[in-house]
Symmetry: none
Subunit: 126 residues, 4 copies
């Protein structure tokens, strides 16, 4: 899991927690039925108040990502099919947002392709 919270980010901490867990689920690091870390543990790890982490967990449950059972923790509730659809949708959304910004900065799709090609050839990438 991307385990650091940026206190200076305009994105509230509890939303950063939501994003990190979603990413973990969508990337396959956490699968349907897996147990999420306990609120207390995650709070300690991220240096947040347990209330803040709990808020994120409730939101994830409200969105149908997980199921909180008092006493037995929270479990991921995203079957593989739905996960793949969400993964694809999130990717396309990120791509769309990025392309919009890039284009408004004056970069063309070709410029972007060249940049990515260059990165592929960087020693650090291979």
């Amino acid at each position: 899991m991307n385990l650091t919270i940026d206190a200076k980010s305009p994105l509230p901490a509890y939303q950063q927690v939501i994003q990190a867990i979603k990413l973990e689920v969508l990337s396959g690091g956490l699968c349907d039925g897996d147990l999420l870390p306990s609120i207390r543990d995650l709070a300690k790890l991220l240096k947040l108040n347990p209330n803040t982490v709990a808020k994120a967990y409730y939101a994830l449950e409200a969105e149908g990502f997980s199921e909180n059972r008092s006493g037995s923790g929270s479990r991921v509730r995203v079957p593989a099919g739905r996960r793949d659809a969400l993964r694809q949708a999130m990717f396309e959304n990120e791509l769309k947002n990025f392309l919009e910004k890039a284009v408004s900065l004056g970069f063309s799709l070709e410029d972007i392709q060249q940049f990515i090609e260059r990165i592929k050839n960087e020693p650090s990438h291979r």
Copy 2:
């Protein structure tokens, strides 16, 4: 200028104003020496309180993007050379952030290239 503020965005309104103006400057829509819209006008346009827009203008000045003068408005202070460097840096930063997310979602650079190729061939793009 991208002239709407998303009230539901986690990004505070004044930061959305900062980003919109930066983008406008970096994309060349506003040049060194150009007058920004007045705080009151922009506030009216964006349906924000003048104080909120003033906060954005104050931050832009603090970052060296503009110069505010009582009585004669706010002017862009980004010479073309610095603008180009900033434009490049912002692009690379956005690209890096996007690639990080995409990779953690399980997409490879090749996948991304294919997506962009597909977009280039869409009728709406041509």
Copy 3:
């Protein structure tokens, strides 16, 4: 802390707050890591609006003097080494400004030395 704000001063209230806190830090009254008074408390003490004090705290953070954290207050972030350098720089700057004014009023360095000598010998000083 020099805890009064001069409402008639041409120096805006929030800048007076900035100066007072800087002075307190540079003189050693507040040390690295110390908690500043809360915005609301200081506002009440100085009979200012919380927004005005918040503006000062925001500026102090932007200058790297302190760190504000929602929920846990604002803390001084000036290691002793940097503090001493800043203290020296501020003193020399004040001295330079004073000497400039004094000289333009027609007083020589010798005149100033005599005045200070006289003050040293005043009963109120000893």
Copy 4:
């Protein structure tokens, strides 16, 4: 005359004009009966709006420093005796303010004397 206005100073421009003219009179650069520069000329020189300079001139007259005669300009009205008293008072006030700041920064009168001694021996000063 100290002929620049700092637009960024918290001290309003018209007060900066007042201070500059007072200093000029107290230092003997302008004597009782001398004509002040015309509002229009000084405004052009300082890159200010004539209204701003006029405001300073009216304030100076209100304080008894000058006399504005419509059509024939403004003349200094500070006899030598009063001027010397004012000069002395302003100096002592500046010295007092400086010493207060220096002491609260933790510098002693002896420290200050040593600094001034050092400046006297600098080649740039001699």
